[in-house]
Protein backbone atom coordinates (compact mmCIF):
# COMPACT_ATOMS: atom_id res chain seq x y z
CA UNK A 1 0.00 0.00 0.00
CA UNK A 2 1.42 3.41 -0.96
CA UNK A 3 1.99 5.62 2.10
CA UNK A 4 -0.65 8.41 2.23
CA UNK A 5 -1.98 7.09 -1.08
CA UNK A 6 -5.53 6.24 -0.07
CA UNK A 7 -8.15 6.86 2.59
CA UNK A 8 -7.69 3.27 3.72
CA UNK A 9 -4.12 4.12 4.64
CA UNK A 10 -5.19 7.11 6.73
CA UNK A 11 -7.93 5.05 8.33
CA UNK A 12 -5.42 2.35 9.36
CA UNK A 13 -3.09 5.08 10.67
CA UNK A 14 -5.86 6.57 12.79
CA UNK A 15 -6.48 3.20 14.44
CA UNK A 16 -2.78 2.41 14.92
CA UNK A 17 -2.03 5.82 16.40
CA UNK A 18 -5.05 6.05 18.73
CA UNK A 19 -3.10 4.48 21.65
CA UNK A 20 -0.18 6.87 20.95
CA UNK A 21 -2.52 9.85 21.22
CA UNK A 22 -4.13 8.55 24.42
CA UNK A 23 -0.73 7.89 26.03
CA UNK A 24 0.59 11.26 24.83
CA UNK A 25 -2.36 13.21 26.19
CA UNK A 26 -1.74 11.61 29.57
CA UNK A 27 1.92 12.57 29.45
CA UNK A 28 3.03 8.93 29.30
CA UNK A 29 5.94 7.43 27.36
CA UNK A 30 4.85 6.07 23.99
CA UNK A 31 7.93 5.49 21.84
CA UNK A 32 8.10 1.74 22.56
CA UNK A 33 4.54 1.42 21.31
CA UNK A 34 5.42 3.62 18.31
CA UNK A 35 8.20 1.21 17.36
CA UNK A 36 5.59 -1.53 17.21
CA UNK A 37 3.37 0.74 15.08
CA UNK A 38 6.31 1.33 12.75
CA UNK A 39 6.77 -2.41 12.22
CA UNK A 40 3.06 -2.94 11.52
CA UNK A 41 2.88 0.08 9.19
CA UNK A 42 5.93 -1.14 7.27
CA UNK A 43 4.35 -4.56 6.91
CA UNK A 44 1.23 -2.92 5.48
CA UNK A 45 3.21 -0.64 3.13
CA UNK A 46 5.32 -3.49 1.75
CA UNK A 47 2.65 -6.23 2.01
CA UNK A 48 2.10 -6.65 -1.73
CA UNK A 49 5.79 -6.57 -2.61
CA UNK A 50 7.92 -9.48 -1.43
CA UNK A 51 10.98 -8.29 -3.40
CA UNK A 52 10.74 -4.98 -1.59
CA UNK A 53 10.58 -6.60 1.85
CA UNK A 54 13.63 -8.76 1.21
CA UNK A 55 15.59 -5.86 -0.29
CA UNK A 56 14.65 -3.60 2.65
CA UNK A 57 15.72 -6.21 5.22
CA UNK A 58 19.05 -6.90 3.51
CA UNK A 59 19.66 -3.15 3.08
CA UNK A 60 18.95 -2.51 6.76
CA UNK A 61 21.21 -5.34 7.97
CA UNK A 62 23.98 -4.04 5.69
CA UNK A 63 23.67 -0.48 7.03
CA UNK A 64 23.46 -1.54 10.68
CA UNK A 65 26.51 -3.82 10.40
CA UNK A 66 28.42 -1.09 8.61
CA UNK A 67 27.56 1.61 11.16
CA UNK A 68 28.25 -0.64 14.15
CA UNK A 69 31.59 -1.81 12.75
CA UNK A 70 32.66 1.72 11.86
CA UNK A 71 31.78 3.07 15.32
CA UNK A 72 33.77 0.22 16.86
CA UNK A 73 36.70 0.96 14.57
CA UNK A 74 36.51 4.72 15.18
CA UNK A 75 36.96 4.21 18.93
CA UNK A 76 40.45 2.88 18.23
CA UNK A 77 41.61 4.63 15.07
CA UNK A 78 40.67 7.27 12.51
CA UNK A 79 42.21 6.58 9.10
CA UNK A 80 40.86 8.66 6.23
CA UNK A 81 40.69 5.85 3.71
CA UNK A 82 38.69 3.62 6.05
CA UNK A 83 36.18 6.46 6.40
CA UNK A 84 35.88 6.89 2.62
CA UNK A 85 35.54 3.14 2.22
CA UNK A 86 32.78 3.00 4.84
CA UNK A 87 30.97 5.99 3.28
CA UNK A 88 31.20 4.34 -0.14
CA UNK A 89 29.92 1.05 1.26
CA UNK A 90 26.90 2.86 2.70
CA UNK A 91 25.90 4.27 -0.70
CA UNK A 92 26.81 1.08 -2.57
CA UNK A 93 23.30 -0.46 -2.36
CA UNK A 94 21.85 2.72 -3.86
CA UNK A 95 24.40 2.73 -6.68
CA UNK A 96 23.66 -0.92 -7.48
CA UNK A 97 19.93 -0.29 -7.37
CA UNK A 98 20.25 2.65 -9.79
CA UNK A 99 22.40 0.63 -12.20
CA UNK A 100 20.40 -2.60 -11.92
CA UNK A 101 17.65 -1.70 -14.43
CA UNK A 102 20.32 -1.45 -17.14
CA UNK A 103 21.40 -5.06 -16.59
CA UNK A 104 18.35 -6.92 -15.41
CA UNK A 105 14.57 -6.82 -15.76
CA UNK A 106 14.01 -7.29 -12.03
CA UNK A 107 15.58 -4.86 -9.58
CA UNK A 108 16.43 -7.12 -6.63
CA UNK A 109 18.22 -4.41 -4.72
CA UNK A 110 15.84 -1.47 -4.97
CA UNK A 111 12.78 -0.84 -2.80
CA UNK A 112 10.48 2.05 -2.01
CA UNK A 113 12.53 4.64 -0.12
CA UNK A 114 16.06 3.35 -0.74
CA UNK A 115 17.19 6.77 -2.01
CA UNK A 116 16.04 8.39 1.21
CA UNK A 117 17.19 5.70 3.61
CA UNK A 118 20.69 5.84 2.16
CA UNK A 119 21.08 9.39 3.48
CA UNK A 120 20.52 8.13 7.00
CA UNK A 121 23.22 5.46 6.81
CA UNK A 122 25.81 7.73 5.19
CA UNK A 123 25.07 10.51 7.65
CA UNK A 124 25.71 8.20 10.61
CA UNK A 125 29.09 7.21 9.14
CA UNK A 126 30.06 10.86 8.59
CA UNK A 127 29.02 11.99 12.06
CA UNK A 128 30.92 9.09 13.58
CA UNK A 129 34.00 10.19 11.65
CA UNK A 130 33.52 13.72 13.05
CA UNK A 131 33.39 12.32 16.57
CA UNK A 132 29.79 13.41 17.10
CA UNK A 133 28.51 9.87 17.58
CA UNK A 134 30.74 8.18 20.10
CA UNK A 135 28.59 5.60 21.78
CA UNK A 136 27.31 2.59 19.93
CA UNK A 137 23.60 3.41 19.51
CA UNK A 138 21.18 0.83 20.98
CA UNK A 139 20.03 -1.40 18.12
CA UNK A 140 16.33 -0.69 18.72
CA UNK A 141 16.71 3.08 18.46
CA UNK A 142 19.02 2.81 15.46
CA UNK A 143 16.49 0.65 13.61
CA UNK A 144 13.68 2.98 14.63
CA UNK A 145 15.61 5.91 13.12
CA UNK A 146 16.36 4.10 9.85
CA UNK A 147 12.92 2.54 9.48
CA UNK A 148 10.71 5.31 10.92
CA UNK A 149 7.70 4.68 8.70
CA UNK A 150 6.13 8.18 8.27
CA UNK A 151 9.15 9.39 6.30
CA UNK A 152 10.22 6.10 4.74
CA UNK A 153 9.14 6.61 1.13
CA UNK A 154 10.28 10.19 0.40
CA UNK A 155 11.58 11.91 3.52
CA UNK A 156 11.91 14.56 4.95
CA UNK A 157 15.45 13.40 5.68
CA UNK A 158 16.01 13.54 9.42
CA UNK A 159 19.30 13.40 11.34
CA UNK A 160 20.11 10.78 13.92
CA UNK A 161 21.10 13.00 16.85
CA UNK A 162 18.06 15.24 16.37
CA UNK A 163 15.71 12.28 15.97
CA UNK A 164 17.13 10.42 18.94
CA UNK A 165 16.68 13.45 21.21
CA UNK A 166 12.96 13.44 20.38
CA UNK A 167 12.75 9.70 21.02
CA UNK A 168 14.23 10.00 24.49
CA UNK A 169 12.13 12.93 25.68
CA UNK A 170 8.86 12.19 27.44
CA UNK A 171 6.64 15.16 26.58
CA UNK A 172 4.39 16.64 29.28
CA UNK A 173 0.69 16.33 28.39
CA UNK A 174 0.20 20.00 27.47
CA UNK A 175 3.21 20.05 25.15
CA UNK A 176 2.10 16.86 23.45
CA UNK A 177 -1.37 18.32 22.98
CA UNK A 178 0.13 21.26 21.10
CA UNK A 179 2.25 18.94 18.94
CA UNK A 180 -0.81 16.80 18.25
CA UNK A 181 -2.78 19.84 17.05
CA UNK A 182 0.10 20.95 14.85
CA UNK A 183 0.34 17.42 13.46
CA UNK A 184 -3.37 17.22 12.63
CA UNK A 185 -3.15 20.68 11.09
CA UNK A 186 -0.25 19.50 8.90
CA UNK A 187 -2.19 16.46 7.75
CA UNK A 188 -5.10 18.64 6.65
CA UNK A 189 -2.67 20.95 4.90
CA UNK A 190 -1.43 17.83 3.12
CA UNK A 191 -4.96 17.00 1.93
CA UNK A 192 -5.41 20.54 0.67
CA UNK A 193 -2.07 20.59 -1.17
CA UNK A 194 -1.86 17.08 -2.57
CA UNK A 195 -5.43 15.97 -3.06
CA UNK A 196 -7.20 19.25 -3.77
CA UNK A 197 -4.81 21.77 -5.35
CA UNK A 198 -2.28 19.33 -6.82
CA UNK A 199 -5.01 17.02 -8.10
CA UNK A 200 -6.94 19.96 -9.55
CA UNK A 201 -3.90 21.30 -11.45
CA UNK A 202 -3.10 17.88 -12.82
CA UNK A 203 -6.60 16.70 -13.60
CA UNK A 204 -8.15 19.87 -15.01
CA UNK A 205 -5.20 21.57 -16.63
CA UNK A 206 -2.21 19.32 -17.31
CA UNK A 207 -4.40 16.44 -18.54
CA UNK A 208 -6.37 18.81 -20.82
CA UNK A 209 -3.47 20.90 -22.08
CA UNK A 210 -3.86 19.78 -25.69
CA UNK A 211 -7.36 21.33 -25.71
CA UNK A 212 -6.20 24.54 -24.03
CA UNK A 213 -2.98 25.29 -25.92
CA UNK A 214 -3.09 26.33 -29.55
CA UNK A 215 0.49 25.51 -30.52
CA UNK A 216 3.18 23.12 -29.48
CA UNK A 217 5.23 25.95 -28.01
CA UNK A 218 2.29 27.23 -26.00
CA UNK A 219 1.57 23.70 -24.83
CA UNK A 220 5.11 23.27 -23.51
CA UNK A 221 5.17 26.76 -22.01
CA UNK A 222 1.94 26.18 -20.03
CA UNK A 223 3.16 22.74 -19.09
CA UNK A 224 6.35 24.17 -17.62
CA UNK A 225 4.51 26.44 -15.14
CA UNK A 226 1.66 24.04 -14.41
CA UNK A 227 4.05 21.17 -13.78
CA UNK A 228 6.15 23.36 -11.44
CA UNK A 229 3.10 24.16 -9.32
CA UNK A 230 1.84 20.61 -9.49
CA UNK A 231 5.23 19.27 -8.35
CA UNK A 232 5.26 21.70 -5.44
CA UNK A 233 1.73 20.99 -4.21
CA UNK A 234 2.09 17.25 -4.66
CA UNK A 235 5.43 16.98 -2.87
CA UNK A 236 4.76 19.64 -0.24
CA UNK A 237 1.46 17.86 0.41
CA UNK A 238 3.20 14.53 0.85
CA UNK A 239 5.78 16.18 3.14
CA UNK A 240 3.01 17.72 5.24
CA UNK A 241 1.51 14.22 5.75
CA UNK A 242 4.89 12.79 6.72
CA UNK A 243 5.65 15.66 9.12
CA UNK A 244 2.13 15.64 10.56
CA UNK A 245 2.21 11.92 11.35
CA UNK A 246 5.72 12.31 12.82
CA UNK A 247 4.43 15.05 15.14
CA UNK A 248 1.62 12.82 16.36
CA UNK A 249 4.31 10.24 17.15
CA UNK A 250 6.27 12.86 19.10
CA UNK A 251 9.01 13.27 16.47
CA UNK A 252 9.58 16.74 15.04
CA UNK A 253 10.64 15.76 11.52
CA UNK A 254 12.26 18.71 9.75
CA UNK A 255 10.38 20.94 7.31
CA UNK A 256 10.79 20.44 3.58
CA UNK A 257 9.30 23.59 2.02
CA UNK A 258 9.10 27.26 2.87
CA UNK A 259 7.29 29.20 0.13
CA UNK A 260 9.87 28.33 -2.57
CA UNK A 261 8.22 30.39 -5.32
CA UNK A 262 9.00 33.68 -3.61
CA UNK A 263 12.77 33.01 -3.43
CA UNK A 264 14.91 36.10 -4.04
CA UNK A 265 17.78 34.19 -5.65
CA UNK A 266 19.09 30.67 -6.20
CA UNK A 267 20.72 30.35 -2.79
CA UNK A 268 17.47 31.48 -1.22
CA UNK A 269 15.59 28.95 -3.37
CA UNK A 270 17.63 26.03 -2.07
CA UNK A 271 16.91 27.19 1.48
CA UNK A 272 13.20 26.90 0.68
CA UNK A 273 12.79 23.95 -1.73
CA UNK A 274 13.14 20.32 -0.61
CA UNK A 275 15.08 21.71 2.33
CA UNK A 276 15.94 18.49 4.11
CA UNK A 277 17.61 17.26 0.90
CA UNK A 278 19.45 20.46 0.03
CA UNK A 279 20.61 20.93 3.64
CA UNK A 280 21.92 17.38 3.60
CA UNK A 281 23.95 18.05 0.48
CA UNK A 282 25.02 21.44 1.85
CA UNK A 283 26.31 20.02 5.15
CA UNK A 284 27.68 16.66 4.04
CA UNK A 285 28.94 17.43 0.53
CA UNK A 286 29.43 21.12 -0.24
CA UNK A 287 30.74 22.32 3.13
CA UNK A 288 32.95 19.28 3.64
CA UNK A 289 34.41 19.71 0.18
CA UNK A 290 35.11 23.42 0.74
CA UNK A 291 36.52 22.68 4.19
CA UNK A 292 38.91 20.06 2.84
CA UNK A 293 40.08 22.27 -0.04
CA UNK A 294 40.57 25.31 2.21
CA UNK A 295 42.32 23.48 5.02
CA UNK A 296 44.68 21.50 2.83
CA UNK A 297 45.18 24.60 0.65
CA UNK A 298 44.79 22.48 -2.48
CA UNK A 299 42.98 25.27 -4.30
CA UNK A 300 43.76 28.85 -3.30
CA UNK A 301 41.12 30.71 -5.32
CA UNK A 302 38.07 31.12 -3.05
CA UNK A 303 35.55 31.51 -5.85
CA UNK A 304 36.88 28.48 -7.67
CA UNK A 305 36.57 26.33 -4.53
CA UNK A 306 33.04 27.52 -3.96
CA UNK A 307 31.97 26.98 -7.57
CA UNK A 308 33.56 23.53 -7.76
CA UNK A 309 31.67 22.68 -4.57
CA UNK A 310 28.39 23.71 -6.19
CA UNK A 311 29.13 21.70 -9.33
CA UNK A 312 29.88 18.64 -7.20
CA UNK A 313 26.75 19.14 -5.09
CA UNK A 314 24.30 19.60 -7.94
CA UNK A 315 25.72 16.89 -10.18
CA UNK A 316 25.45 14.47 -7.26
CA UNK A 317 21.91 15.66 -6.61
CA UNK A 318 21.08 15.04 -10.28
CA UNK A 319 22.46 11.49 -10.20
CA UNK A 320 20.67 10.88 -6.93
CA UNK A 321 17.32 11.69 -8.57
CA UNK A 322 18.06 9.02 -11.16
CA UNK A 323 20.27 8.09 -14.07
CA UNK A 324 17.74 9.18 -16.71
CA UNK A 325 19.13 12.01 -18.86
CA UNK A 326 16.60 14.58 -17.61
CA UNK A 327 17.80 14.21 -13.99
CA UNK A 328 21.46 14.55 -14.88
CA UNK A 329 20.66 17.54 -17.06
CA UNK A 330 18.60 18.99 -14.19
CA UNK A 331 21.64 18.69 -11.91
CA UNK A 332 23.94 20.23 -14.51
CA UNK A 333 21.47 23.08 -15.10
CA UNK A 334 21.32 23.93 -11.39
CA UNK A 335 25.10 23.66 -11.09
CA UNK A 336 25.47 26.16 -13.92
CA UNK A 337 22.79 28.52 -12.56
CA UNK A 338 24.33 28.40 -9.08
CA UNK A 339 27.85 29.09 -10.34
CA UNK A 340 26.40 31.96 -12.39
CA UNK A 341 24.57 33.40 -9.42
CA UNK A 342 27.55 32.97 -7.09
CA UNK A 343 29.81 34.78 -9.55
CA UNK A 344 27.26 37.56 -9.90
CA UNK A 345 26.92 37.86 -6.12
CA UNK A 346 30.69 38.24 -5.71
CA UNK A 347 30.80 40.81 -8.50
CA UNK A 348 27.91 42.73 -6.98
CA UNK A 349 29.48 42.79 -3.51
CA UNK A 350 32.37 44.77 -4.98
CA UNK A 351 30.63 46.94 -7.55
CA UNK A 352 27.16 47.38 -5.99
CA UNK A 353 25.68 47.15 -9.46
CA UNK A 354 22.32 45.68 -8.38
CA UNK A 355 20.93 47.78 -5.51
CA UNK A 356 18.76 46.37 -2.71
CA UNK A 357 15.30 47.89 -2.69
CA UNK A 358 11.65 46.99 -3.04
CA UNK A 359 11.67 47.08 -6.84
CA UNK A 360 14.84 45.11 -7.41
CA UNK A 361 13.54 42.57 -4.91
CA UNK A 362 10.39 42.03 -6.97
CA UNK A 363 12.43 41.71 -10.16
CA UNK A 364 14.77 39.25 -8.42
CA UNK A 365 11.85 37.10 -7.30
CA UNK A 366 10.38 37.08 -10.82
CA UNK A 367 13.67 36.12 -12.47
CA UNK A 368 14.32 33.38 -9.91
CA UNK A 369 10.80 32.04 -10.38
CA UNK A 370 11.19 31.56 -14.14
CA UNK A 371 14.70 30.11 -13.82
CA UNK A 372 13.37 27.63 -11.27
CA UNK A 373 10.36 26.67 -13.42
CA UNK A 374 12.62 26.00 -16.38
CA UNK A 375 14.60 23.67 -14.10
CA UNK A 376 11.43 21.74 -13.30
CA UNK A 377 10.62 21.63 -17.01
CA UNK A 378 13.95 19.84 -17.55
CA UNK A 379 13.21 17.63 -14.55
CA UNK A 380 9.83 16.60 -15.98
CA UNK A 381 11.56 15.09 -19.01
CA UNK A 382 9.54 17.23 -21.42
CA UNK A 383 12.52 19.30 -22.57
CA UNK A 384 14.36 16.19 -23.67
CA UNK A 385 11.46 14.13 -25.00
CA UNK A 386 9.01 16.75 -26.28
CA UNK A 387 10.69 20.14 -26.25
CA UNK A 388 13.04 19.39 -29.14
CA UNK A 389 10.14 19.43 -31.60
CA UNK A 390 9.91 23.23 -31.22
Amino acid sequence: MTPYGSFTFFFILAILLAPTVILGLRGKRFQTYNMLVSVIALAIIFASNLHGVIALIIFTIWQVLLIKSYIRYRKKANEGWIFYLAAFASILPLIISKLMPYFSTINWVGFLGISYLTFKGTQLIIETRDGLIKQDPPIGRLLYFILFFPTISSGPIDRYRRFDKDVQVVLPADQYKLLLYQGINKIFQGFLYKYIIGYWINHHYIANLRFIATSHFQNELYYMYLYSFYLFFDFAGYSAFAIGVSYIMGIKSPENFNLPFISRNMKDFWNRWHMSLSFWFRDYVYMRFVFLMTKKKWIKNRNLVSNLGYVLLFLLMGFWHGLAPQYILYGAYHALVMVGYNTFEQFNKKHKWWPQNKYTQIVSILITFHVVCFGFYIFSGHLIYKGVRL
Binding site: D130, L132, R159, D283, M287, R288, T294, V305
Partner: protein
Protein backbone atom coordinates in the same frame (compact mmCIF):
# COMPACT_ATOMS: atom_id res chain seq x y z
CA UNK B 1 35.76 39.28 27.18
CA UNK B 2 38.97 39.37 25.19
CA UNK B 3 38.19 36.05 23.57
CA UNK B 4 34.78 37.35 22.57
CA UNK B 5 36.34 40.38 20.90
CA UNK B 6 38.75 38.17 18.99
CA UNK B 7 35.86 36.06 17.69
CA UNK B 8 33.93 39.16 16.63
CA UNK B 9 37.05 40.54 14.94
CA UNK B 10 37.41 37.28 13.01
CA UNK B 11 33.75 37.39 11.99
CA UNK B 12 34.12 40.93 10.73
CA UNK B 13 37.05 39.80 8.58
CA UNK B 14 35.13 36.87 7.14
CA UNK B 15 31.89 38.78 6.53
CA UNK B 16 33.89 41.75 5.24
CA UNK B 17 31.45 43.98 7.08
CA UNK B 18 31.78 46.08 10.25
CA UNK B 19 28.06 45.66 10.97
CA UNK B 20 29.22 42.61 12.91
CA UNK B 21 31.12 44.81 15.36
CA UNK B 22 28.43 47.45 15.58
CA UNK B 23 25.71 44.98 16.41
CA UNK B 24 26.97 41.71 17.86
CA UNK B 25 23.39 40.42 18.12
CA UNK B 26 22.75 40.66 14.40
CA UNK B 27 21.52 37.43 12.77
CA UNK B 28 24.31 36.54 10.37
CA UNK B 29 22.30 34.18 8.20
CA UNK B 30 19.04 36.16 7.92
CA UNK B 31 21.00 39.21 6.83
CA UNK B 32 23.09 37.20 4.37
CA UNK B 33 26.36 38.27 6.03
CA UNK B 34 27.37 34.64 6.41
CA UNK B 35 26.60 31.76 4.04
CA UNK B 36 27.81 28.15 3.77
CA UNK B 37 31.13 29.24 2.31
CA UNK B 38 31.71 31.88 4.99
CA UNK B 39 30.80 29.32 7.64
CA UNK B 40 33.48 26.96 6.39
CA UNK B 41 36.06 29.77 6.35
CA UNK B 42 35.06 30.59 9.89
CA UNK B 43 35.50 26.98 11.01
CA UNK B 44 38.89 26.70 9.33
CA UNK B 45 40.06 29.96 10.95
CA UNK B 46 38.68 28.97 14.36
CA UNK B 47 40.74 25.81 14.16
CA UNK B 48 43.89 27.66 13.07
CA UNK B 49 43.67 30.63 15.43
CA UNK B 50 42.04 29.23 18.54
CA UNK B 51 42.78 25.53 18.13
CA UNK B 52 39.10 24.65 18.52
CA UNK B 53 37.74 22.01 16.16
CA UNK B 54 34.06 22.45 15.38
CA UNK B 55 32.61 19.68 13.19
CA UNK B 56 30.54 21.12 10.35
CA UNK B 57 27.38 19.30 11.41
CA UNK B 58 27.77 20.67 14.93
CA UNK B 59 27.30 24.16 13.51
CA UNK B 60 23.52 24.51 13.83
CA UNK B 61 22.41 27.79 12.24
CA UNK B 62 19.65 28.22 14.81
CA UNK B 63 22.16 28.25 17.65
CA UNK B 64 25.27 29.70 15.99
CA UNK B 65 23.30 32.61 14.58
CA UNK B 66 24.79 35.85 15.98
CA UNK B 67 28.37 37.00 16.74
CA UNK B 68 27.59 36.90 20.47
CA UNK B 69 26.15 33.39 20.28
CA UNK B 70 29.04 32.11 18.20
CA UNK B 71 31.51 33.53 20.74
CA UNK B 72 29.49 31.88 23.51
CA UNK B 73 29.47 28.49 21.78
CA UNK B 74 33.19 28.67 21.08
CA UNK B 75 33.98 29.67 24.65
CA UNK B 76 32.10 26.55 25.76
CA UNK B 77 34.23 24.36 23.52
CA UNK B 78 37.55 25.85 24.55
Amino acid sequence: MEFKNEVIELLAEICQDDAVKENPDINLFDTGLLDSFGTVELLVQVEERFGITVPITEFDRDVWNTPNNIALQLADMK
